[in-house]
């Protein structure tokens, strides 16, 4: 009984039972009922995820501390970093919003990158999964919708248009670091298939 259960998979979105098919590298298996992608193994996906996450981490450090935007009006200038944007809500009632913004655009994306490196680096090297890899990967999946770096970038673009009439705005190095960060995040997520990751984690476990 247990053996036959291991050969089946229930679609996480609609509960339809399937026999686990053999899926070629680069191909996908979809649920027959709701079309959800069940398995999508890729060649070297683990290595790519680790490398992209590491790149993301480095870019994030640059994005936080380098000047982000620079504003000039009639000789008055002001540089601001992502850190300043976080502190924008720091007085009085709005202080919690400052924490929330910090979490959404900096802390959670960093946590997610670190979690993915922790889970995938040993796997990419062909080692056994790190201790607690399951919990860490589950945490990374919970964080996923709350890591909003890419939305922040669109927000910056909108803000630029709003102040364009008022002042001259120059984009700082951190802005470009953030743009790269968004591309890296999108690429990384495209290599990751949750069910496939779990199956691999399970196979490599002692």
């Amino acid at each position: 009984m247990t053996d036959s259960l291991a050969n089946m998979i229930a679609c996480p979105k609609c509960d339809a039972l399937h026999r686990i098919p053999h899926v070629e590298k680069g191909a996908r298996a979809r649920c027959v009922r709701c079309d959800t992608v069940l398995m999508a193994p890729r060649d070297g996906a683990m290595t790519r995820i680790v490398m992209l996450s590491a790149t993301g981490l480095i870019l994030m450090i640059g994005a936080v501390f380098f000047p982000f935007l620079e504003l000039n009006v009639q000789g008055l200038g002001r540089k601001s970093s992502v850190f300043d944007a976080v502190l924008a809500f720091s007085d009085g009632l709005m202080l919690p919003l400052s924490f929330a913004v910090a979490a959404l655009i900096v802390v959670l994306p960093i946590m997610r990158f670190m979690a993915l490196i922790y889970v995938f680096a040993p796997m990419a090297l062909g080692w056994q999964p790190a201790r607690g890899a399951r919990e860490v990967f589950r945490l990374a999946e919970v964080i996923r919708p709350w890591a909003m770096a890419e939305i922040f970038i669109i927000g910056v673009a909108v803000a630029l248009v709003k102040v364009a009439g008022l002042a001259t705005v120059t984009l700082g190095p951190a802005f470009w670091a953030f743009v790269l960060l968004v591309i890296v995040t999108a690429l990384k997520d495209s290599f990751m298939c949750r069910v496939t990751v779990w199956q691999t984690l399970n196979q490599r476990r002692v």
Binding site: I20, A88, R134
Partner: protein
Amino acid sequence: MSGDGMANAEPAQGVITARAAGLIGCAECGRVHRRDVPLCTVCGAPLQSRDTASLQKVWAWLFAGMVVYIPANVYPMLRTSTFGNTSDSTIVGGVLELVDHGSYGVAFIVFFASVVIPISKFIAIAYLAYRVQTGKRGHARHLHLYEVVEFIGRWSMIDVFVVAILSALVQLDFVATINPGIAAVSFALSVAFTMVSANSFDPRLIWDTREGTPA
């Protein structure tokens, strides 16, 4: 097998669900378990054939999100002072300002993210939860609607970030200052609450009523 690189998983005897087979499928990793297993052996997630409290959570968070969306639109989002004149603008006011400046594209983005997405999200979540509650048949298009809601909801945060950036950047004493208004807080809460509401929905509930009926 086919040229586009797709291989459909083989259905086990037509479409039969894990629950109909007397089993539990893990919502996290898809692993199938016997009914008496409490935690998934593959990923460690708690196993539940259906999240029975799902709808309650969905409705509660949805109402909370709708309630805080009201002050988000009534109170000012931004307080701009230029040369001693202070003006407040609400979400819709900010959009109208952008239209006045002729930035139709950006006005559209902000309007879409702060008004169209939140309101359609309220309607979509309520519609899905209502259908499940009244036991109506679900189809693949309802799951797709749910996936769109889940995917697009976070983009409403744009306006909160815009306010944060503007307030950080435009601090030029007498010439121009921009400060956040209290609506930024309630808007951020509204987006967060509806995201939690959408995340609490168990999509497997969509299909349930189909099971008793012959396909």
